[in-house]
Amino acid sequence: MIELLAPAGDLEKLKIALMYGADAVFVGGQQFSLRARASNFTLDDLQEATSFAHARGKKVYVTTNIIPHHEDMHDLIEYLKALEERHVDAIISASPYIIDMALKHTTLEVHLSTQQSTTNAKTVNYWYGRGIKRVVLARELDKHQIKQIRTKTEADLEVFIHGGMCMSFSGRCSLSNNMTDRDANRGGCAHSCRWNYDLMDGETKVSDVPFSMSSKDLEALEQIPYLIDAGVSSLKIEGRMKSLHYIATVVATYRKLIDDYMKHHEITDFAPYMKELEKAENRLASHGYLEGLPGVEQQLYNARSERPTQLFIGLVLDYNQESGIATIEQRNHFTEGEAVEIFHPNGHVEPFIIHEMMDENHQRLDVARHPRQILKIKVPFVVEPYAMLRKR
């Protein structure tokens, strides 16, 4: 069975990703991760994460994917053992030092990070021979090249299917290091490739239109059947910084697509899935390299890709079956009388109209205007925690 792998920037997103259909999540710990930030998962968080995931037959992978300098190499073995003790299912690494220490001192499964930019079967097999269970392939491969590699290796292959893309070969870019003194391979990427530039031919500006290296996001809905048939082991969604609603919508959409294809062996119309994805974030999307070398239609010039939607208006915390009242945390402005829908973790959507809304002290409200405000709303059907309230 092919794995749907989702990002999780914190525990709440992890739970959402797993409840909405991911088979596994990848998270950053507080050390050795390219997201080395305070909000990353503590060891206690990881314990809770693996307990939550394993109770549902799902997995948690931890990124230990920095390219370490000498000063970063302390305390690694202790950290890896701590991950092992918390029953982490695998680590995702790029440095031979981190990989070797994990394989030597722990029983952790090791996946090779895309930071190694693996583009051929010989390289996949080299790492597999060293004890790497899974290789995350470079984004620069097309779907036929991925299939070709599949026929030449026993290693599990993981492929990116959705989200933002590095414009350089991953791990080989130091724009950020040079332009901002922030090390891209140690979690400091400043996204310098997404800035605007002038292209100069000698002393002459080529055009007043800014030159950009930036790309539209990857969206591989139409390639999923091919990748499943090719024998890819894991389909990876990116975006550990994304919102709850984004994670839920993207995961649920790919979950449905994968399940529909596995059931019917054919997808005749991708439009409904695309329409669903647009509810998460109306971004300009492309196939990346999956259909071949990206041309102009896949680049972004003088435009922001991200156009967040205001559809997500509340998160269900609880539901009282006797009273039919749901406890909901406000996430965006909405009013009594609005036509809304519940987006269930199983992907189903049920509409209703808000006829009755109160604050947590049961005072009647006509507008939900405060972020994170706790609301009591009458819902005419059963909802479960982590369901989402959306505008229609």
């Binding site: 997201r35 930030r37 390219i67 370490p68 300098h69 000498h70 190499m73 440095s95 031979p96 030092y97 070797d100 895309t114 190694q116 583009t119 051929n120 079967a121 010989k122 390289t123 080299y126 090249q145 989200g163 893309m165 350089s168 070969f169 791990g171 080989r172 870019c173 130091s174 724009l175 290091n177 922030r182 090390d183 891209a184 391979n185 979690g187 400091g188 990427c189 400043a190 490739c193 800035w195 605007n196 530039y197 002038d198 292209l199 100069m200 031919d201 000698g202 080529v206 055009s207 030159f211 950009s212 290296m213 790309s215 990116e238 910084m241 390299y289 990206p294 896949q298 680049q299 010039y301």
Partner: protein, 293 residues
């Protein structure tokens, strides 16, 4: 410490080699960021001429390669199997394995650009029986020294030139010209720069070749002030003359050979360059908002 240099025109081979120990040449079928793409016949001629002068010769084949490319690369390498080549420089682990399979075991140099940042990862390539490894460009002199004093294979480092900081497989200039609906006229041109909107004083050289698009540091890296220290552990110091010419290469070679500070100033003036020492004394911070990897 040997000094290697790149070449623009084979008629300048003698001049360029005068003050250095060897040459790096390649072909754009498998190499990238080359000063010039030489034909097979030219490469063989250069190999023999350099060999006759008792100089080292390295073939640059530093593209990231797919399975199909590796197959072609192996066949291409066969013609050089019995040539007096000192080594083949590659950027891809698969290319190391392919080179080993085609008679180059012990003569392969791995240049992973950014990845050899510590002595363990640097020496890890002994597993593949390489001749040498390029140390990462973005680490301090202190880190380089530690690698150099713990190395188990030859240590290579770009000591002079515009260091590469971005390598995309996309044809980004072609795409931009397509967006402007103008004909492409910049592929392979070595006089292009990018100027970022908030860094007007920093023109970054950019090159689009058959392998993709590359962006380089504005300042020229140099090591003239550290030659004694580097000589203690560095095996090969590379002078990359991309964006320059062979006269520049000959002058820079002469400058390093005689540690000629007056010549250094003259070169900087003639070529309108600013030089720095890269990350020798600059530690990058890393606890920031990371990108998607």
């Amino acid at each position: 410490m040997k000094k290697l240099i790149t070449l623009h025109d084979m008629i300048n081979l003698e001049m360029v080699l005068e003050h250095v120990d060897g040459i790096i040449v390649g072909q754009d079928t498998y190499g990238t960021r080359l000063t010039h793409s030489f034909s097979d016949e030219e490469l063989i001629s250069i190999i023999h001429e350099a060999h006759e002068r008792d100089k080292d010769v390295f073939l640059m084949a530093n593209q990231m390669m797919t399975d199909d490319q590796l197959e072609g690369f192996g066949s291409w390498l066969m013609q050089f199997q019995h040539q007096p080549i000192t080594g083949v420089i590659v950027a891809d682990l698969g290319a190391i394995i392919t080179s080993n399979e085609h008679g180059f075991q012990g003569r392969v140099i791995y240049n992973p650009e950014t990845l050899a940042t510590n002595d363990y990862d640097f020496n890890d390539l002994t597993r593949l029986h390489v001749m040498g490894v390029y140390a990462a460009k973005e680490i301090t002199l202190s880190d380089l020294t530690r690698i150099g004093t713990h190395k188990q294979v030859k240590m290579f480092m770009v000591g002079h030139g515009h260091l590469n900081m971005f390598y995309s497989k996309r044809q980004l200039i072609q795409n931009y010209m397509d967006f402007l609906a103008e004909p492409t006229r910049f592929h392979g041109k070595q006089n292009l720069t990018l100027i970022e909107e908030h860094r007007k004083e920093e023109p970054y050289p950019i090159l689009e070749d058959d392998a993709g698009t590359h962006v380089f540091r504005r300042h020229v890296m140099h090591v003239i002030n550290h030659l004694d220290e580097l000589s203690g552990w560095l095996d090969y110091m590379i002078i990359d003359t991309l964006f320059k010419d062979d006269r520049y290469g000959a002058l820079v070679g002469q400058m390093y050979r005689y540690r000629d500070v007056d010549l250094m100033k003259r070169i900087q003036e003639d070529y309108h360059e600013t030089w720095d020492e890269g990350f020798f004394d600059k530690k990058t911070i890393y606890k920031g908002k990371g990108g998607e990897q």
